[in-house]
C-alpha cells in the first residue's frame, strides 16, 4: 500500500509547560474523511494544530504527501496544500465575505466552478458577498470558514468541530456541504463530538484519549459496534 497522505509518528506536543500529545500515531489515507473522536481534552484539537503547525512538535515526525514537514512553518504547510478550518472559525470580521475569500484563494480571484460550488453549498454567502463578515450569523460564519478551505484545491482539509453551537437545520446543510466537498475527492481530517455527524461523513475513524490514538479503523466497524463505542468513548457520546 502506498504511503498515506498524512502520517504522524510518535508525535509529542507541548503547549507551554503542558505535555498534551504523548506520542500520537495517525494515518490519514488520501481521499475520504477521517474522523478524530474522543473525550474533551483528549488532544484532538492539539493534533490538528500540530498538523497545521501552530504548535511545534517536540518529538516525532509529521509527514505530508511524502515529505517530512515537521520543521516547516505554518505558511509553508498551507502553501503545500493543507487547509485549516478551526473551531473558532477565525474569519476576518473587518473584511467583507468577498475579501475573506480572495485572501483564501491566494492564487487569484475566487471565480469559476469552485465559486459556483461554494455558492451552491452555502447560498447565504452569495447574498452577503459584499458585506462585512462580522455581520454574519454564527452558522454563516462557519459556512464562510469552510468555504475558505474549498475555494482552492487543497490536498488536506482540517476541520475542527464544525457543528458546535449550530442549530440542527444549519448542521444538516453543513453536513450536506461537507459531503459534497468529500465527493470532489478531497481528503478531510475532522474533529467531531456529534457522533451522528461523524457517522454520516466518516470513512475511517481514530479515537484519542490522553494524548494518544487508542483506536483506528473503518467508521462502519465502530458505528455498528455499540460495545466498542462505549468502551472507547465512554459517556462522551451519550450526551449527544
Amino acid at each position: 500500500m502506498s504511503e498515506p497522505l498524512l502520517r504522524l509518528a510518535g508525535v509529542h506536543t507541548h503547549i507551554g509547560r503542558y505535555h498534551i500529545l504523548h506520542g500520537v500515531d495517525l494515518s490519514v489515507p488520501e481521499g475520504g474523511v477521517t474522523m478524530l473522536l474522543g473525550r474533551n481534552g483528549a488532544g484532538k484539537t492539539t493534533t490538528l494544530r500540530t498538523v497545521i503547525g501552530h504548535w511545534r512538535t517536540s518529538q516525532g515526525t509529521v509527514r505530508f504527501a511524502g515529505e517530512d514537514i515537521t520543521a516547516w512553518p505554518t505558511p509553508r504547510r498551507a502553501r503545500a496544500g493543507i487547509a485549516d478550518v478551526p473551531e473558532s472559525m477565525g474569519i476576518f470580521t473587518d473584511l467583507t465575505v468577498e475579501e475573506n475569500m480572495v485572501l483564501a484563494a491566494r492564487a487569484g480571484k475566487p471565480e469559476g466552478p469552485r465559486l459556483d460550488a461554494v455558492f451552491k453549498a452555502f447560498p447565504p454567502l452569495r447574498t452577503f458577498w459584499k458585506n462585512p463578515a462580522g455581520n454574519l450569523s454564527g452558522g454563516q460564519k462557519q459556512m464562510l470558514s469552510v468555504a475558505r478551505a474549498m475555494i482552492e484545491p487543497r490536498r488536506l482539509i482540517l476541520i475542527d468541530e464544525p457543528s458546535k453551537g449550530l442549530a440542527p437545520a444549519i448542521v444538516r446543510s453543513l453536513v450536506e456541504a461537507l459531503r459534497a466537498l468529500k465527493d470532489t475527492g478531497a481528503t478531510i481530517l475532522m474533529v467531531e463530538q456529534n457522533f451522528s455527524v461523524a457517522r454520516a461523513l466518516g470513512d475511517s475513524v481514530a479515537v484519542m484519549d490522553e494524548g494518544r490514538v487508542i483506536h483506528a479503523g473503518p467508521m462502519a466497524e465502530l458505528a455498528e459496534n455499540r460495545e466498542m463505542q462505549e468502551r472507547l468513548m465512554g459517556l462522551s457520546l451519550e450526551a449527544h
Binding site: G53, T74, P75, A83, I91, F92, T93, D94, L103, R148
Partner: protein, 353 residues
C-alpha cells in the same frame, strides 16, 4: 469613475464625513487665498504634513496592528536627509530629490533591520525596541553636532523659486502676492496629497487586505498561507518611507532641521493622538485627526486667552483659562474624545461604535 479610482474606491461611508473631508481638501487647496497671513499658511502646511505623517502611522497602527514608537524617527531621518541634501549640494530641486531619496532609503533600511530582529517577538517587545532605537537615534543626532547641528539643529537655503523673494508675476491675485512662498506651499500641499493618495492605494490593495487580516488574526493569516513576518516588515518599511518623505517636505517648509522640530517624542505622541482621535484603521481618520489636532495646537491658546479675558473678575475661571494651561485643555479634549468616540471621529460618523 475617475474620482473613485483616485481614492482607490475607499469611500468615506458617511455623508457628513464626506462633506467634512471635502471642506478640509478645499480649505487646504485654497488656504493661501482663504486664510491669508503667514501664521495661517504655516498652520495649513503643518496640517498637510501631519495628515501624511498620521496616515503613514495608521498604515502601521490601524491597518497592521503594530505599535511603533520609532515613527517620528523616520520622519526625522527624512527631514535631515532633505536638509543635508540642500545644505551640502546647494539650493536646488535636485538636492531636495537626492536628500529625500537618501532619507527614504535610510529609513527603509533601518525599518527593515528593526523589523527583521523584532517583529517575530511579541507586540509589546517590538514597541519597546522601537522606543529604545528612537531614543538612541535622538541622542546620536544631538551628539554628531558637526553634521546635524546638535540640539540647535541647522537652517539652510531652499531653491530660490520657493522663497518669498521670487516673484511669479507682478501684482496680486485675490490680494495675495504671487511669490515663491506660495509655490512652496503648493509644493508641500501637492507632495502630501500624492503621499496620502499613495497610502490610500496601498491599504486598499490586496496587500492592504492581508495586513488587515494579520491585524485581526495572525494565526489565521498564516494558516491561509501568508508569511506574516514578511508582510509586517513590508508594512513597517513602507510606512517608514512615507514618514521620511513627509519629513523631507517638512524640512523644506521650515528651511530648518532640528531635534525639537522633527525628532522629539512629543511629536510621536501627537501623531499617536491624531490617529486615535481621527479613528484607527481608516486613512480618513488621519485627515480628521491631524486637522483637528494641528488647529487645536495652533489656536487653542488664542481661544483660551479670549476666554480668560472674557471671564475677568470671575473667581478661578481666568486662571483656569490662562493660555499657559493650554496643554491641560488639550488633554481634557483628548480624554473626552476617546471617551465619546472610542472608534474615533470617523468610526463615530460611520456609526460603528
Amino acid at each position: 469613475m475617475f474620482f473613485g479610482r483616485l481614492i482607490s474606491g475607499d469611500r468615506p461611508g458617511s455623508p457628513i464625513l464626506a462633506i467634512v473631508l471635502i471642506a478640509i481638501l478645499l480649505g487646504l487647496a485654497f488656504a493661501p487665498f482663504l486664510f491669508p497671513g503667514t501664521r495661517s499658511l504655516d498652520t495649513a502646511a503643518r496640517i498637510c504634513i501631519f495628515i501624511a505623517l498620521a496616515a503613514s502611522y495608521d498604515l502601521l497602527l490601524g491597518y497592521t496592528g503594530i505599535v511603533s514608537f520609532a515613527h517620528v524617527m523616520f520622519f526625522g531621518i527624512g527631514a535631515y536627509g532633505a536638509a543635508l541634501g540642500l545644505d551640502g549640494l546647494g539650493r536646488g530641486f535636485g538636492s531636495i530629490a537626492i536628500g529625500a531619496a537618501g532619507g527614504a532609503v535610510a529609513a527603509a533600511a533601518l525599518a527593515f533591520v528593526i523589523g527583521l530582529f523584532s517583529l517575530r517577538v511579541r507586540a509589546i517587545f517590538f514597541a519597546m525596541i522601537t522606543l529604545a532605537v528612537a531614543s538612541a537615534f535622538a541622542v546620536m543626532v544631538s551628539q554628531f553636532s558637526d553634521i546635524t547641528g546638535g540640539e540647535d539643529g541647522f537652517s539652510f537655503k531652499v531653491p530660490r523659486e520657493l522663497t518669498p523673494a521670487f516673484k511669479i508675476a507682478d501684482g496680486k491675485l485675490f490680494g495675495v502676492s504671487l511669490n515663491g512662498k506660495l509655490l512652496l506651499y503648493y509644493f508641500v500641499f501637492t507632495g502630501c496629497l500624492v503621499l496620502f493618495l499613495a497610502l490610500l492605494r496601498v491599504v486598499n490593495s490586496p496587500f492592504g487586505r492581508v495586513l488587515q487580516a494579520i491585524r485581526e488574526n495572525d494565526f489565521r493569516a498564516e494558516a491561509i498561507g501568508f508569511r506574516v513576518v514578511r508582510y509586517r516588515i513590508a508594512a513597517t518599511c513602507l510606512s517608514a518611507v512615507a514618514a521620511a518623505l513627509a519629513g523631507s517636505l517638512f524640512a523644506v517648509w521650515l528651511r530648518y532641521a532640528g531635534p525639537d522640530a522633527v525628532l522629539s517624542f512629543e511629536i510621536m505622541v501627537d501623531v499617536l493622538l491624531m490617529v486615535v482621535i481621527g479613528g484607527m484603521g481608516t486613512m480618513w481618520g488621519a485627515v480628521i485627526g491631524a486637522t483637528l489636532f494641528v488647529i487645536a495646537q495652533s489656536y487653542l491658546r488664542e481661544v483660551m486667552g479670549a476666554l480668560s479675558d472674557a471671564t475677568e473678575g470671575a473667581p478661578l475661571l481666568p486662571d483656569l483659562f490662562n493660555p499657559d494651561r493650554w496643554l491641560l485643555w488639550l488633554g481634557v479634549i483628548f480624554v473626552l474624545s476617546v471617551y465619546f468616540f472610542p472608534t474615533g471621529v470617523v468610526g463615530r460618523l460611520r456609526g460603528k461604535d
